[in-house]
């Protein structure tokens, strides 16, 4: 089973990557044949490489999202940008509401703070 398919967030990616690296280091404990060991090791390394190549989309939110909503956000973003993405979610209550998105060097502010600041600028 492809472990990387379940990855939606950067935290999950880091966790899976650590697990894969640990598993690769412990292959010798399984007493597998050299061929199987090499095959497994190559699979782990490919999986780690795949994780490292995921495109990171940074999202700043004003609330702590549920797991379901994280999945929903990932689906929307993946639909727009392709599946090789991972969300790096940060909590920033000063945003009031909405989201700030950063990807490929772009900064898109869809927060209520931006609107609030624009309306209250003296």
């Amino acid at each position: 089973m492809d472990e990387t398919a379940k990855i939606k967030t950067l935290n999950q990616a880091s966790s899976v990557k650590r697990d894969l690296e640990a598993a690769a280091d412990n292959l010798y404990r399984l007493n597998l044949s050299q061929e199987d060991t090499d095959t497994k090791k190559r699979q782990y390394e490919e999986a780690v490489e795949k994780i490292e190549n995921l495109k990171v989309i940074k999202l700043a939110l004003a609330f702590d999202p549920s797991t379901d909503f994280v999945d929903k956000m990932w689906q929307i973003v993946a639909q727009k940008m392709g599946e090789g993405i991972v969300l790096d979610i940060a909590l920033d209550k000063s945003l009031i509401g909405g989201v700030v998105i950063e990807h490929d060097g772009q900064h898109q502010d869809y927060s209520l703070r931006r609107i609030f600041n624009a309306k209250t600028k003296l």
Partner: protein, 148 residues
């Protein structure tokens, strides 16, 4: 004869005494003249000295008066100049301090304004954030992500 000799002796003594008296009188007269001359000379000398001293004193007084007047005039001039300079310096200092005070007041006023503005914003943002329901938060995010 003895009487005659006695009379002659008396006469001689008398004449001798008269001569001595005449001589003494002459000496007395001479002394008076000298005294008189000395007195007159002294008086003249005194008057001369007095006159000279009076002239010198007058000259010194005149010089002193002139010098004093010049000193007074110079002092008054310097005092006026100093006063003018001091007043100008004081005005400059006062203007400078007033300007600094005004700048400081404006700076503090701006700082307080910014701080009040920031506080109001923070409180308003906090209140707004709390007022928004989780489903509304999710809807806002969903709409934003769909714009990608």
């Amino acid at each position: 004869m003895v009487l005659g000799l006695g009379l002659v002796w008396i006469v001689q003594q008398y004449r001798s005494t008269l001569d001595a008296l005449a001589k003494a009188k002459k000496q007395v007269d001479l002394t008076d003249e000298i005294e008189k001359l000395v007195e007159e000379t002294a008086q003249e000398f005194k008057e001369e000295i007095h006159t000279s001293l009076t002239k010198s004193a007058e000259a010194i007084e005149a010089q002193m008066t002139t010098a004093l007047e010049e000193f007074r005039a110079d002092l008054a001039k310097k005092a006026a100049s100093f006063q003018e300079s001091f007043t100008r310096k004081l005005d400059e200092e006062f203007t400078g301090v007033s300007r600094e005070l005004e700048e400081y007041r404006k700076k503090r006023y701006d700082e307080i304004n910014r701080e009040v503005e920031r506080l109001i914003k923070d409180i308003t943002q906090e209140a707004l954030g709390r007022a928004i329901e989780p489903k509304d938060h999710e809807e806002l995010v969903t709409k934003a992500l769909e714009k990608l």
